[in-house]
């Protein structure tokens, strides 16, 4: 028994001493930078795009079949391209914007391009959940479409938008890890370089755990925010 414990202790010590803490910390910071910068920019594009999709949709406040269909097709095209392909496809654009095609910054343009249409659909969906009666009431009070968007739609859908953010950001995290395959930096890069190419199982294991922790934190924080902001829940 004692022998076993000592042995286990020994193994753990061995693993810890072999860990390159600096590598993990740096790559985690890189990942966080990639995820949050691209989520932020993707939301700057995704929210207006989602709002336009919603208001031009059928029976909505500014129905426009032509615009809706055009936007819908564009969004669908981008969503159907696998991220790993998109990453390569947009390289010329990436080079033009950030002047490099490797490293964390180089991953942000493709991440934004693939996440924005995804976010637009999530936003559209959240807005669809807003009670039609409340929109009608706002119209009856003489609200303009812009006022309906800013003072009704985005306000009433806030909890749902936050739930959507948990899902969208987690998806971006997954994509950002994939970017490691082309030298994108971050935890995914470490997992590929050490775990796959050098076959260091411990490194692979640790990066996976770190990614998992990040997913959990994102999920927890946004779900908590969503719940806290939802005034329909009496607490």
């Amino acid at each position: 028994m004692i022998f076993l414990v000592l042995n286990l202790n020994n193994i753990i010590n061995q693993i810890i001493s072999s860990l390159d803490f600096e590598l993990y910390i740096n790559s985690t910071i890189e990942s966080i930078f990639m995820i949050f910068t691209s989520s932020f920019i993707a939301y700057l594009i995704g929210i207006p795009l989602g709002v336009v999709l919603f208001i031009t949709g059928k029976d909505s406040i500014s129905q426009n079949d032509f615009l809706y269909n055009i936007l819908s097709i564009i969004v669908n095209i981008f969503r159907s391209i696998p991220f790993i392909i998109l990453l390569i496809l947009v390289m010329p654009f990436t080079k033009f914007v950030v002047h490099t095609v490797i490293g964390p910054s180089a991953v942000i343009p493709p991440l934004v391009i693939s996440a924005a249409p995804y976010i637009a659909r999530m936003v559209e969906q959240s807005l669809c959940e807003v009670d039609k009666g409340v929109i009608e009431a706002a119209k009856a009070m003489g609200a303009s479409n812009f006022q309906i968007i800013t003072k009704v739609l985005l306000v009433e859908s806030k909890p749902s938008l936050l739930v959507g953010a948990a899902i969208s950001i987690t998806t971006i995290l997954g994509y950002s890890a994939m970017a490691g395959a082309v030298g994108g930096g971050g935890l995914g890069d470490v997992a590929i370089r050490y775990g796959y190419h050098r076959y260091e199982q411990v490194t692979m294991f640790v990066t996976v755990i770190l990614l998992l922790i990040m997913v959990q934190i994102i999920q927890y924080v946004f779900m908590k925010l969503a719940k806290k902001s939802d005034k329909r829940i009496i607490n």
Partner: protein
């Protein structure tokens, strides 16, 4: 003419759904007098909501005119239409409050839209919440309120911009009878004290009865009857009018009692002989019994209106005597 705040002329509304045309309203003509309480009643799908949504142009007529204070709404630009809507409050069956925003902010919403200064908004909202008796609920969220309280918030919100008219689409249909009468009282008070014209849509005759001055009965997209509530209640001319006023007007007598095989007659009470105990006198006159199969009556201004279906005794002689008596007492009846 100038006395009418809302006037509708030859209005028709057709909805185009895929290949089909749905005529929701046809040949609608009505005037709503300033300061009155106007009721619109009809069965589900009759076109009531569509009609009320024409009054603030949330829905545009296919043909015909909607005039607000003599002004043809079709002539207005989107922008002036939005300004006009601030003069027309609206409340709904499902309240339609902002769920993520507290009570006072809900009341302030129309003022915010009108770019009123924040301090003024708060002051006005507080005044209105006091008016509807909800001063203590300022900071509550709609999910924490009862149906009646939610409707009070909606009324306060509808009053915020000092409207000339309030449109109520089934505003009491989701409420219990007690809360319904409280809300109706509040609307009555608003009508009297603030001189706000009120248009009430309902499928409950009791609502019309308790607060409306005039009523339009809508049936199958058309106005079946229109007039003063008192007149229509005394003497509904149409089938739908009778049905709505007397409740489940029995059209098919056979549904009532198939096993009874005696002769049946339908009596109508038009309010003229309500002081007479007609039925008992009739029974006494024939010295025989009759069977009351169905009765529905209402008292209006102390007079009884309604109808009754009775089965006459089997022996011909007594039956004749009863009919004699009814004729003598001027009660309208017919065989069924």
């Amino acid at each position: 003419m100038e006395n009418n705040i809302i006037e509708i002329k030859n209005l028709k509304k057709i909805f185009f759904v895929a290949e089909n045309q749905i005529v929701a309203l046809d040949d609608i003509n009505l005037q709503i007098e300033k300061g009155s309480i106007f009721g619109i009643i009809g069965l589900s799908g009759a076109g009531k909501s569509t009609l009320v949504r024409m009054m603030n142009y949330l829905e545009k007529p296919t043909c015909g005119e909607v005039l607000f204070e003599g002004m043809d709404l079709s002539k207005l630009t989107e922008k002036s239409l939005r300004e006009l809507r601030k003069q027309i409050g609206m409340i709904f069956q499902n309240f339609n409050l902002l769920e993520q925003v507290n009570v006072i902010k809900n009341v302030m919403f129309p003022l915010e839209i009108s770019h009123m200064k924040k301090e003024d908004r708060i002051e006005r909202a507080k005044y209105l919440l006091k008016l509807v008796g909800l001063s203590d609920k300022e900071k509550a969220y709609p999910s924490q309120l009862s149906g009646g309280q939610k409707q009070r918030v909606a009324i306060a919100r509808a009053l915020a911009t000092n409207p000339k008219v309030i449109l109520c689409d089934e505003a009491t249909s989701a409420l219990d009878p007690k809360t319904t009468s409280q809300i109706l009282e509040l609307l009555k008070k608003i009508n009297r004290e603030m001189n706000v014209t009120i248009v009430i849509i309902t499928h409950q005759m009791s609502v019309i009865e308790s607060i409306c001055d005039r009523v339009a009965i809508i049936d199958n997209s058309k106005i079946a009857e229109i007039g003063d509530v008192k007149d229509i209640f005394k003497n509904p001319k149409t089938e739908i009018g009778k049905k709505l006023i007397f409740g489940n007007y029995v059209e098919n007598i056979n549904e009532l009692n198939l096993s009874s095989n005696g002769k049946k007659i339908r009596l109508a009470f038009d309010g003229t002989n309500s002081n007479e105990p007609i039925i008992s006198k009739m029974v006494l006159s024939a010295n025989s019994n009759c069977n009351i199969l169905y009765a529905n009556a209402k008292e209006i201004d102390g007079n009884v209106f309604g109808e009754m279906i009775i089965e006459l005794p089997k022996d011909e002689e007594s039956a004749e005597k009863m009919k004699e008596y009814l004729k003598k007492s001027n009660v309208t009846f017919w065989d069924v």
